[in-house]
């Protein structure tokens, strides 16, 4: 099982699902649903906050949240 935090910078995967319903609901309503392409474009010092691109949108997520996002 891969999570978003396991991805290398720039690596593109397909979003599989969410391990935390609150994370899921928020991201779903932002238009980031299972089946879309997702990648981590860059991150802050020490990788604590991630700059994520998915489905044409850009969002900032914390490492903790990223560990709950499953990818294929």
């Amino acid at each position: 099982m891969s999570q978003l935090i396991d991805l290398r910078l720039g690596e593109k995967r397909i979003l599989k699902g969410f391990e935390d319903p609150q994370v899921g609901l928020r991201l779903l309503s932002m238009g980031i649903q299972p089946g879309v392409e997702i990648s981590v474009r860059r991150s802050t010092f020490n990788g604590h906050t991630l700059y994520v691109r998915a489905n044409g949108k850009t969002i900032a997520v914390r490492k903790k949240e990223a560990s709950k996002i499953q990818v294929h």
């Binding site: 928020r26 238009g31 906050t49 044409g56």
Partner: protein
């Protein structure tokens, strides 16, 4: 009067469209219970009167933030004063799928909808186009393209609103409720839900009644027990509903959009620098530095102008009115107090102008992205940075800007520590005192030593703010927010109307909130400094005039000497002497005591008070005051009164103490209780006392 709610996702061009529709007729108020801006406007078109209410940007009616809770609670309560007759949905077609989620939810509430597609100027760059009529047919509601930027098609949109207001026809529901959802609704007595609510509206009420405070306690308990009895899993239901909607939306979006080309957008290229892990924070600090430079250089002229206006008014008043107590009240009390408030407007206006532009352009979310980790270590939020920077001009609008911080604990902590950030009122005090710590022509390498001490004081204030956050954090109840998950919108050109309205609101808040208090306290202090017990003041004036005669001083010098003796004999003077024993260990005497007391109205009053006490008359010129202070001798030591130890101690006191009644008043208003401003005052002033004490004693000992 037709009520139109303007709804849409955040960053969809909603505010821009609102501005274009309503011009400057908008009014800014509050949503009850939460301090989020409520923008409304009334306009007329073709004989129909409309009331527009701008609802907070929302991704979905299943709320995940306080903004979204407002929107949801309004749209599921037909009895709510803001419940609309018609919804104007703002759609950014560049992310059609996501934006359609909320729209289909609103349709399912049984509300008539008109869709306005914005950002059309950007379609060409993204190489997409939308088939309006197909979309209109799928949704069952009118769809109109508009340009929020150029105003293209706004009139046509208004015509559509008028037409729709006459029929108020509702589109077909979009989502079919599942078996278990219909079942659970049937189990609830019909009285549980307000009348006029669609099935979907009832489902939302069932799922969110508790967090949105929709029902009375017994109805709520009843619903909760029905849910428990039938093991109804609300979250599972919400997830299923959302995914079911997207299942229908996705193919629809494809049919309606032609040729989407994903592009390495301009925003991404800009972010390569701006959001870079090392350069990003550096760029941010650089921008902050530039902002401060801009504030201090651009603001000087208007500030001088305002000071000149009030000085002239004061002179004129003295010319036309006889020398009586009410003339003094008018000039030294009211005019001086008013002038002291209004003189800060240029700095505040410039700061908020620049901050608004940064927000409008989309940069602020990048700043939050870069500093979220750092800030949350202190129990603060990425948005706290905005408040802390604003605090560099004035804590009052800074504290008001914390309304955008959703989490109550993070917001309270931010409010608590913001006054540590050196505000513009501390600067005149610093200018006077820095000269005593470091002589002006010294250089440390290529750097001017005074400039460095100045910067050091800024760093000191910022450090004090963060350290206090750590100290105070355990004492505030509640949890800091678990989630970030914010959108970083594409960079865009700022909407100048929004910027202007923001500046106007912030400056207005400063004038009304701070202005009232500073004026009030100025009057009190004027009274304390102009009147004394019994006839001690008259006696002092007599003595002073006699002394002046003996010494054969000219008129000016005499008046200044008289003024100094007057303030000694006044209530303020007595208070100063009374606290002298308490402040002596800090290296202060009773004259400094008086100035400390008067500075509690507003810090910059320190300079004027010093001028009066040291008989230089009515001046605000820091350098003159400083020169005079330098000559003052400490009777106990025979050396200068303002030696290095006393000056450092005084500087530290001003850096840390909460000497601004207006700040306390605003904190009370924003936190709705006296507890926090009082705690803040005790904490900061107590800290100032201790630090000054330690500093003075240490430096003396060395």
């Amino acid at each position: 009067m037709i009520k139109v709610a303007i709804a849409g996702n955040p960053n969809s061009g909603k505010s821009t469209l609102f501005n274009k529709l309503t011009g400057l007729k908008q009014r800014v108020g509050n949503f009850p219970g939460v301090t989020v801006d409520r923008k409304t406007a009334e306009i007329s078109h073709s004989g129909t009167d409309f009331l527009f209410v701008d609802l907070p940007g929302t991704y979905s009616l299943h709320p995940t933030s306080s903004d979204e809770r407002i929107t949801s609670s309004i749209l599921v309560q037909p009895d709510d004063p803001d419940y609309p007759d018609l919804v104007l949905y703002v759609l950014d077609a560049r992310s059609l799928e996501q934006q359609l989620l909320f729209l289909t939810q609103i349709i399912d509430l049984g509300l008539p909808v008109v869709v306005a597609m914005t950002m059309i100027d950007e379609w060409h760059a993204e190489e997409i186009d939308i088939k309006d009529d197909k979309l209109q047919k799928f949704l069952g509601c009118p769809v109109r393209r508009v340009s929020g930027k150029t105003g293209e098609n706004i009139e046509s949109l208004k015509d559509t609103l008028v037409a729709c207001s006459k029929t108020l026809s509702k589109p077909q529901p979009f989502y079919d409720l599942q078996q278990q959802e219909l079942f659970i609704l049937e189990q609830c007595p019909s009285s549980s839900f307000p009348s006029g609510l669609s099935s979907y509206g009832q489902l939302l009420t069932l799922e969110h009644a508790k967090e949105l405070d929709l029902l009375s306690e017994d109805k709520l308990n009843q619903l909760e027990s029905i849910k428990a009895e039938h093991k109804f899993n609300a979250i599972k239901s919400q997830v299923h509903e959302t995914m079911a909607r997207f299942d229908r939306i996705q193919p629809l979006a494809k049919k309606v959009t032609t040729q989407i080309t994903p592009s390495e957008s301009l925003s991404d290229r800009i972010d390569q620098f701006v959001s870079h892990r090392y350069f990003g924070p550096l760029i941010f600090l650089g921008l902050m530095f530039l902002i401060f430079q801009a504030i201090f250089s651009w603001a000087t002229y208007p500030m001088d102008g305002i000071e000149w206006v009030f000085a002239s008014l004061s002179d004129l008043t003295r010319q036309f009115l006889p020398a009586a107590w009410y003339t003094d009240l008018l000039t030294e009390g009211i005019l001086a107090g008013l002038g002291g408030v209004l003189v800060f407007i240029p700095q505040i206006a410039i700061l908020f102008l620049l901050l608004s532009v940064m927000e409008e352009v989309g940069y602020m979310s990048r700043a939050i992205y870069l500093f979220d980790r750092f800030m949350s270590r202190f129990g603060l939020n990425g948005r706290s940075i905005v408040a802390m920077i604003s605090g560099g001009a004035c804590a009052i609008p800074a504290i008001m800007s914390t309304r955008t911080i959703a989490n109550p604990k993070e917001r309270l902590l931010t409010i608590f520590i913001t006054p540590f950030i050196p505000c513009s009122a501390r600067i005149p005090v610093y200018i006077v005192l820095v000269g005593f710590v470091v002589p002006s022509e010294t250089y440390l390498g290529p750097f001017n030593a005074q400039g460095m001490v100045f910067m050091g004081l800024y760093v000191f204030g910022i450090a004090a703010a963060f350290l206090s956050a750590l100290l105070v954090r355990p004492f505030i109840s509640g949890q800091t927010s678990g989630f970030l998950m914010i959108e970083l919108p594409d960079y865009r050109r700022p909407d100048w109307t929004s910027v202007w309205m923001n500046v106007k609101t912030k400056v207005g808040a400063f004038i009304t909130e701070a202005g009232k208090i500073i004026l009030g306290i100025s009057l009190v202090l004027w009274f304390l400094a102009s009147y004394g017990p019994g006839d001690q003041m008259e006696a002092a004036v007599q003595e002073a005039r006699q002394e002046a005669e003996i010494q054969n001083w000219d008129a000016d010098r005499t008046e200044n000497y008289v003024a100094a003796k007057q303030i000694e004999a006044s209530y303020a003077g007595h208070l100063g002497k009374a606290i002298e024993p308490a402040i002596e260990p800090l290296g202060f005497d009773w004259k400094i005591g008086i100035a400390l007391l008067t500075s509690f109205a507003a810090r910059e009053v320190f300079v004027g008070t010093m001028a009066t006490i040291y008989s230089i008359g009515d001046t605000e010129d820091e350098l003159r005051v400083r020169d005079r202070m330098a000559k003052e001798i400490n009777p106990k030591t025979g050396g200068p009164r303002y030696d290095r130890a006393t000056s450092i101690s005084l500087l530290l006191f001003f850096a840390l103490a909460l000497q601004c009644m207006s700040t306390l008043a605003v904190v009370k208003k924003e936190t709705n209780s006296w507890k926090w401003p009082i705690l803040q005052f005790v904490f900061m002033t107590g800290l100032a006392y201790v630090v000054s004490l330690v500093a003075y004693q240490l430096i003396q000992a060395l």
